[in-house]
Amino acid sequence: MDILQIIIVIGILMLIAKPLGNYMYHVFSNESNRTDKIFGPIEKPIFWIIGLKKRAGMSWRKYAISFVLTNVMLVAVSYVLLRVQSGLPLNPNDIGNMEPTLVMNTVISFITNTNLQHYSGETGLTYFSQMAVIMMMMFTSAATGLSVAVAFVRGITTKGSTIGNFFEDFVKAHIRIFFPLSILITLVLVGMHVPQTLDPTLSVTTLEGATQQIAIGPVASLESIKHLGTNGGGFFGVNSAHPFENPNGTTNVIEILSMWALAAGLPFMYGRFAKSKKQGWVIFSAMMILFLVFLTIAYTAEKSGNPLLNGLGIDASQGSMEGKEVRFGIAQSALFTTVTTAATTGTVNNMHDTLTPLGGLVPLAEMMLNVVFGGKGVGLVNMLMYAILAVFISGLMVGRTPEFLGRKIESREMKLIAIAILTHPFIILAPTAIAFLTDLGKGAITNPGYHGISQVLYEFTSSAANNGSGFEGLADNTPFWNISTGLVMFFGRYISMIALLAVAGSMNRKQWVPETLGTFRTDNALFTFLLLGTVILIGALTFLPAIVLGPIAEHLTIR
């Protein structure tokens, strides 16, 4: 049964990923097509209001400045709103203002598409903040990521000096992708009894006669964009494990697919842009192979249960159910965990802190790689960066200087990529080391020993990969954690995005090299394996020592 469930979900994904990729290609290729009739009239007034008449292409610099400034504006508005939320409307539960370092962390967390939550939704945010800050940023950060990915793809697949117009991409991403899909998913979720209301928290008397507070609110609408935009910030503290966010197996599958499908469709969009569907398949296959490996590890690790408990003679036929919802079971939990960290969504339907060591290694490793489908756009861009690296290292072996998609990879691209590949390990390992050197950091660990290493490593990895899932179990709402993870999220998002946009800009301007028999091919199975090898050698081995001290040591010692 378990396996069948998993196969069905992956099967549905395979069915919808390609059409979605094609659809996204049509949205962003800016060539007229049928959907213009529906969306054109909505977009036109928006373009008119923001004064975007010509929608001229931008250089990579202008594109980068545009998206950064747009994000800065959104951050400023959000900061103010959270600081004064108690006085704003739609606060039926009388929630107070947020503390400054927590606001800083929250705002960065959502604008960077991370959604690391050091607060708990039901007690920390008003309904207005949930909608005007949290949901607004869930849409805008996802649209930003998608736009940047599209610009990157345009840069490496087209010739000229522009990589598109950020504002046009940004508006189209909302109007043609996120709004329609969100509305659809919201309605489906509401149909499955996910609350969508502005009523205050319910106060009910239980059968025992005690009074219980039951938090509700505009959950369904947040739930849909939370997954579609690979955001992951839950309405409630326990996220998609909460029965109101994710009531049953069907909603679980819907949520898995909504966070996964767009990310899985992007390689196909790239294939269309590259005018070679095979290129898209290469990227998709590499992602899928990694995914299946990770899923297998997670599933078998969780299924075999906790060796210590097994040793006590406790029935472990169901697997390790600690921290999991009985309504999902091992298969739906393992799948959800693998997808949420692959697509760097960060939503959880089980507590990752309670995963078996190897099961916990899976989300950690996927975030460290950040190429297994990946967050909105980011995964594709990162995978393409590894493709460029693979070409650079092995391309020489055909006796030509390396070229990717008909463009030479030269010193400038390598310098920019160096920035991107250096940043990721640096902002994970350096703060982790600092946390262990200070009591401020060490103090937050609730499980000492190897598991403590996993907790800290997970927190920073999740921040750096803009995933946002928490290992939880870490007492992280302190200024130290708020500020450090805030910075990590910030650098994790913007440094690599800007560096890679610059790569796209530089590739865009290059003279094309015609393809001949002597050209290194990047559209076949051999290159898929080469790409995987590069991801493992450069992306994964970096983290091996830290992982050995965390999850692997834990696994070996409890065996």
């Binding site: 020489l396 200087t401 390598m414 080391a433 490593l457 015609p514 050698l537 450069i538 830290a546």
Partner: protein, 663 residues
């Protein structure tokens, strides 16, 4: 060898090591371990002196091996430079000042000076012959002992300083100042003194530096993280981990590969002006080749002797042979060869005692004045016709028609006449060099397009193009056509290679991404090109491309190998580092290494000795046969990628078996 060993120590100087950041990091690590060995008190490492000393020595050897590789590559060039320097010893020059001739040392010559060089003297500097004709021995630079003719005007007027005039006397205008002559440039090129990193090397270096930085971050942060679970990591072990992980193999061999690649070109008697040119050679998409001399033997061969007028075939052949008796040109000899092949007889005695008349540009004829007074001539049809008419002879009716027929087939007709009578035509045919077809097939398999340039008419050009198997041809081409083709190809993003020797080739040579000038060519051509072939064999461009490809492949193969090695090194060191504190870690010791210390040392020793083991490969280059890119890739990936993963597992295990005897 001894020189190289000496140089590897000299290169330890941190200032020069900084140029190679990967090895610089190793050197810094070496120093730290050295300090810990010398002053164990400061570092609390008294009980570890033996181990630290061993680590220090291995690290030191790692750096020395890398330096040795570079020094060895440089040394090969130096030896060649030394021979060249000998030719540069003081030469006296006979400078023309007004109407007088003054003897001065060659070092005082400046551009524009005019000198006279007589038989037996050395030419004091690079220049152009402005008066006279002489044969010059250029063996000092080309290694070719047969003298070449240099004369004023035309494409054979450039002379190189340090070469010797073996006959006659010439007047030369100096074209370069001392220190900038061809020989000077050659010396600095082969010495590698002015070697600049090529664009691809710079890009690769960026990658190597970032990998080094990544592993630096990994190793530096590992200490604090490990301390949380009470695992104390010793500094030498951390340094060992760092050195094993950073790409020392390729870092140590990278510049040696580059120098050796240049050197292979030089060994091949081609002088590349920069490493960039060699790299570009590997990238060539289109090759423009002159027909004559490159694809075909420039010297055309007699393939038929056509009688004209009333003459019989045998008569015509016999006179053609007699006219060529003393003709040492390839055309002349080919006539005699043809006679032999076709069993034609002639009376060689007729020619005895006759005077040979050499070919001259004015007459465009050569031949022999026989003892009996008869004059035998062969030459261009027009010239022979005029010569016969001048003597009052008659022109056979079918001469013009036959000459045209030969020309239309792509051949060159030479008329043969004795006094007033024209006997026949020698049909000189350009023959495609053997093996050219196969080479063009190989080039096509590598994705390289070949374009043949020829002054012939389209019909002839098509015939030869088909025979040779080139992809495209330009008939009746003028020098401007070449540059137009190059520009057209470059606009499509292609890299173009071409060869040339004349002054009118210079712009095209400069425009091409790889321009190979013939050493026999003009100074202008040589200056415009980025490579000069000392043997003046234009078909060498094909080999130059192969060398360029081989250089790039070697670099890629060793980079892949180096990075792939990391997996095994991780599996050797990581368990070893943690095993003392976390005994369960021995599950990760998949290689079953003897002890933690021997594991660390074995990985480190492997890391060091792999460098000298790979030096021969770096010098020689990886094996290369022309084939499709996808096949090349699978092959190299199997050998160097998969090999790079597996070899260190075996190597480290073997070393560990030995090391574990002591530790």
């Amino acid at each position: 060898m001894f020189q190289a060993i000496k140089a590897s120590f000299i290169k330890l100087n941190p200032v020069s090591m900084m140029k190679n950041p990967v090895m610089f990091v190793v050197e810094v690590g070496t120093l730290v371990v050295l300090l810990m060995t010398i002053f164990p008190g400061y570092f609390d490492s008294e009980d570890r002196i033996g181990f630290n000393l061993t680590v220090f020595l291995i690290l030191l050897f790692t750096v020395l091996f890398a330096n040795f590789a570079e020094a060895l590559a440089e040394g090969r060039g130096k030896a060649q430079a030394d021979t060249l320097k000998k030719t540069k010893k003081e030469i006296t020059a006979n400078k023309v000042v007004g109407s007088a001739v003054k003897t001065i040392p060659s070092t005082e010559l400046r551009k524009g000076d005019i000198v006279i060089v007589k038989q037996g003297e050395m030419i004091p500097g690079d220049g152009e012959v402005i008066e006279g004709l002489a044969s010059v021995d250029e063996s000092a630079i080309t290694g070719e002992s047969a003298p070449v003719i240099k004369e004023a005007g035309g494409d054979f007027n450039s002379v190189t300083g340090g070469t010797r005039v073996v006959s006659d006397s010439i007047k030369v205008r100096i074209t370069s100042d001392p220190g900038e002559t061809f020989i000077d440039r050659m010396i600095s090129l082969v010495e590698g003194a002015k070697r600049q990193k090529t664009p691809n090397e710079i890009a690769l270096n960026t990658l190597l530096i970032s990998l080094t930085l990544i592993f630096l971050i990994v190793v530096v942060t590992l200490g604090p993280i490990a301390s949380y679970v009470d695992v104390e990591l010793e500094i030498p072990v951390l340094i060992a981990l760092l050195v094993c992980l950073i790409p020392t193999t390729i870092g140590g061999l990278l510049s040696a590969i580059g120098i050796a690649g240049m050197d292979r070109v030089t060994q091949f008697n081609v002088l590349a002006m920069s490493g960039k040119a060699v790299e570009a050679a590997g990238d060539i998409n289109t090759m423009i080749l002159d027909k004559t001399g490159t694809i075909t033997f420039g010297n055309r061969m007699a393939s038929e002797i056509v009688p004209v007028g009333k003459a019989s075939g045998d008569d015509a052949a016999a006179w053609a042979a007699i006219s060529s008796l003393h003709d040492e040109t390839p055309e002349g000899r080919s006539v005699l060869d043809w006679m032999k092949r076709n069993n034609k007889l002639y009376d060689a005695a007729l020619g005895e005692g006759g005077t040979f008349v050499e070919f001259r540009a004015e007459t465009r004829m050569s031949g022999i004045d026989l003892k009996d007074g008869r004059q035998v001539r062969k030459g261009a049809v027009d010239s022979v016709r005029k010569w016969v008419i001048a003597q009052g002879g008659a022109i056979p009716d079918n001469l013009g028609k036959e000459a045209e027929r030969v020309a239309s087939l792509g051949g060159t007709p030479l008329a043969v006449a004795v006094d007033k009578e024209i006997f026949g035509l020698i049909y000189l045919k350009d023959t495609v060099k053997p093996g050219m077809r196969e080479r063009f097939d190989q080039l096509r398999a590598m994705g390289i397009k070949t374009i043949m340039c020829t002054g012939d008419n389209p019909l002839t050009a098509a015939t030869i193009a088909k025979e040779a198997g080139v992809d495209d041809f330009i008939a009746e081409s003028k020098p401007e056509d070449k540059i137009a083709v190059i520009r057209r190809e470059q606009a499509e993003g292609k890299l173009v290679a071409m060869t040339g020797d004349g002054t009118n080739d210079a712009p095209a040579l400069a425009q091409a991404d790889v321009g190979l000038a013939m050493n026999s060519g003009t100074t202008a051509a040589k200056e415009a090109a980025n490579m000069v072939d000392l043997d003046s064999d234009p078909s060498k461009i094909i080999e130059v491309v192969a060398i360029g490809k081989q250089l790039l492949m070697t670099r890629g193969a060793l980079t892949t190998f180096s990075i792939a090695n990391d997996i095994a090194k991780y599996f050797a060191i990581i368990p070893a580092m943690f095993m003392l504190a976390i005994p369960e870690m021995k599950a990760l010791n998949v290689m079953g290494l003897g002890s933690p210390l021997s594991a660390v040392l074995s990985a480190l020793i492997f890391n060091a000795i792999i460098i000298p083991l790979l030096i021969p490969l770096a010098m020689r280059g990886v094996a290369y046969r022309p084939m499709k890119a996808s096949r090349l890739l699978s092959r190299n990936l199997l050998v160097y990628g998969l090999g790079g993963v597996i070899v260190p597992f075996i190597g480290i295990k073997i070393i560990d078996l030995i090391v574990h005897v002591w530790i």
